[in-house]
Symmetry: C2
Subunit: 425 residues, 2 copies
């Protein structure tokens, strides 16, 4: 029965029952964590080859008499660029190989805009009197933090089930001070949404007042399916070529959650003009990235089929955890009318919306009972959830036993927070 | 006998003899290279352990339940910070561990100044109407290229046998638009000069008009001695603490020429306020650097004594090459009065000064005879050698046979260039 249909007495009784349950959790002294979007140790073990497989000196000999151990090959090994081309469909000559962090490539790309301007900028962004960036929300806090640090005004944009609200995006892009937008187009962090073909096409075809409008296309979860059949994401560069807007898109991905988060291989891809500018700036700013780690990755994952096999092993481990979380959420919160949540087909998160004004209180109640949740507001620009309702749940890192317990603490906390509000009103 | 004391006829005869020798080199079709400051393959083989030694899962377990394979530990492994502390004498809490490129850390440091300002900046450097940077010359082209790209006016400063001309540095630092200086304080690129205690102390104690004057202290060759006993370099942070100028210094080094140029470990160190700002900015701009490569390095080089052993092996290979070059230079150019050169006790370069106005012509003659030299002017800000006399020689990368031949082509080219000039006058 929905809370809204229950009598005050029934609500009070339910409150007392849950209060007692919560108190038991508090006294049990648990230390659990649902905040960390990290692979668990059993997933990391799937990449033992990176720790143990030796590289031969012969593997280091590259075309043109170059040696992978020495300086050189600043754009990345041709084989690694081809590898990413086969995963993304983007031509290898538009692909740049970085270090272990795609976030670092995103930062470097936006810093390039700040200091020198993008391919079609009238001036460097740091000389713009006012600059704004669109932030589909709920979204990824580390994205928002970068544009906040670089002095952009962050404009939230609503997320729908097929991607950002494109009417809103197009309306906002009519302001020349709006210089771009953050996107996680597949299994979005935290909603799990994959952008529809229509949304992707609108990104490629839409009019923007700023000639240097930049779409930060962070395809972090491109092969991170929970089911055998992944969700379909359209090839944004194919649409962009058709629309003549290739320079608008900066594409990023990495093997952080294919192999190892601390020691993966990141990539970026750009339109041809932007690629040349990126290569020039990076050529001044670094001696190039670690090519031995590229060799290690190519040895372990020589092609897209090897990646698919690896991701099926991850999925087998992750699926059970997403199921545990889903089961507890539907058992404890289903039908009460106090919460909705996502049912992602991939990625690392479940997004939970509780009754307006109850997310912060849920966070506090969970913390008292020993469960750390992602800071409320973290999924919104500048850390402000206007309706105080969204919680990002990360089920991947705890063990299954810990996850089950943490989920139960969570649902007790959600119900208590909502009941407190109902009983106070 | 010096060229200046020879008759015109004797000079002409010498010219004809060398012209014939040069022609023989041209016809022999050599393809040799003295331009690349890279370790040779036999040096890279000294770090095979990085390619072949496995890491155990147990090695990955870090304090606080962290796992080196996963996200986290953004400042670098405590053991790696302690390792660099033992090599440099800098307190570990001021040391930041980067990826494989110290040049990248230098760029990121100066970009931080551009976008946000350094610890004591009145405003971000990008908002300064005019900004200048001091460039001791001859120096390192990649340093100069960074400040040039960031829009600094590059001011050359003379190099003396004990470091930069400090009277000139102090005079120029009285201009508030001068925001800093590049330094390679030990075995300078390309002169091989190690800064004297007096020079180091003057850097720490001097007055600067800019409150955010920044000394980019690139100690790339800190343990890169050719002889058993290396040259002494004073501890700049010790002097700076004494003078209250710790925030002035940004210190950099890496294992690029201890282990592998493409896959080493870079570090930076800062004054306490600057360290906090660096850690904050890097915390926004990356998920952190590759900790597995840090583990690999700690396994191969657990302490300073292991580094000394490794560097003695490098020295044994390098010493022979520096001797070959020195022998040919003194045999062919000694006593002619047309060239002087350095006799470095470490590092990767010999700096050759020929008669004014003859460096470019030497470069061309060597190229005709199949020997690539570093572009003339590369060692000066904006690529302009005002006296057209300096050539940077890199003897480390060719084999001993190639080096001997290349050095002979070089000395023939130097003499021809000088004789051409003398005979035309």
């Amino acid at each position: 029965m929905q809370y809204s249909e229950m009598t005050r007495e029934a609500l009070a009784a339910e409150y007392e029952r849950l209060r007692a349950a919560h108190q038991r959790f508090v006294l049990s002294g648990n230390r659990l964590d649902l905040s960390r979007g990290k692979p668990a140790a059993d997933q990391l073990d799937l990449s033992d080859a990176l720790l143990t497989e030796p590289i031969d000196r012969a593997d280091c000999h590259l075309a043109g008499g170059l040696d992978a151990r020495n300086y050189g090959v600043p754009l990345g090994l041709p084989e690694m660029r081809a590898f990413w081309s086969s995963l993304t469909g983007i031509p290898a000559e538009q692909i740049y190989i970085g270090g272990n962090s795609s976030l670092a490539l995103m930062y470097q790309t936006l810093v390039r805009g700040m200091l020198f301007g993008m391919a079609d900028s009238p001036r460097p962004w740091c000389q713009e009197p006012k600059r704004k960036f669109l932030c589909p929300a709920p979204g990824y806090d580390r994205h928002f933090a970068i544009t906040e640090a670089l002095g952009f005004e962050l404009i939230p944009v609503g997320m729908r089930s097929d991607g950002p609200d494109m009417d809103e995006v197009e309306r906002l892009a009519a302001d020349p001070a709006v210089k771009g937008i953050w996107c996680v187009p597949k299994y979005s962090n935290p909603t799990g949404v994959t952008f529809s073909d229509d949304v992707v096409y609108r990104f490629a075809s839409m009019k923007t007042a700023a000639p240097d409008f930049t779409v930060m296309w962070d395809n972090a979860y491109l092969v991170h399916d929970l089911a055998d059949e992944g969700e379909h994401l359209a090839d944004v560069f194919a649409y962009a070529r058709e629309c003549g807007t290739e320079e608008r898109f900066c594409y990023f991905s990495s093997t952080s959650k294919i192999t190892l988060p601390g020691a993966g291989i990141a990539m970026a891809a750009f339109g041809p003009k932007s690629f040349a500018l990126h290569a020039k700036t990076m050529g001044i700013s670094t001696i190039g990235f670690d090519k031995l780690n590229q060799l290690r990755h190519l040895k372990m994952l020589p092609d897209a089929e090897a990646v698919r096999r690896q991701m099926r092993r991850h999925a087998a481990l992750l699926r059970e955890k997403f199921e545990i979380l889903e089961n507890v959420l539907s058992r404890d919160l289903g039908g009460l009318g106090c919460a909705t949540w996502t049912h992602p087909k991939g990625g690392y998160f479940v997004s939970l919306d509780v009754t307006d004004g109850c997310a912060k209180r849920t966070y506090e109640l969970a913390r008292e009972a020993g469960v750390t949740l992602t800071q409320v507001g973290a999924t919104f620009p500048c850390g402000l959830d206007p309706r105080d309702r969204n919680l990002r749940l990360a089920p991947t890192y705890p063990s299954k036993g810990e996850l089950l317990l943490a989920a139960e603490v969570l649902t007790v906390s959600v119900r208590l927070a909502v009941l407190e509000k109902l009983l106070q009103s």
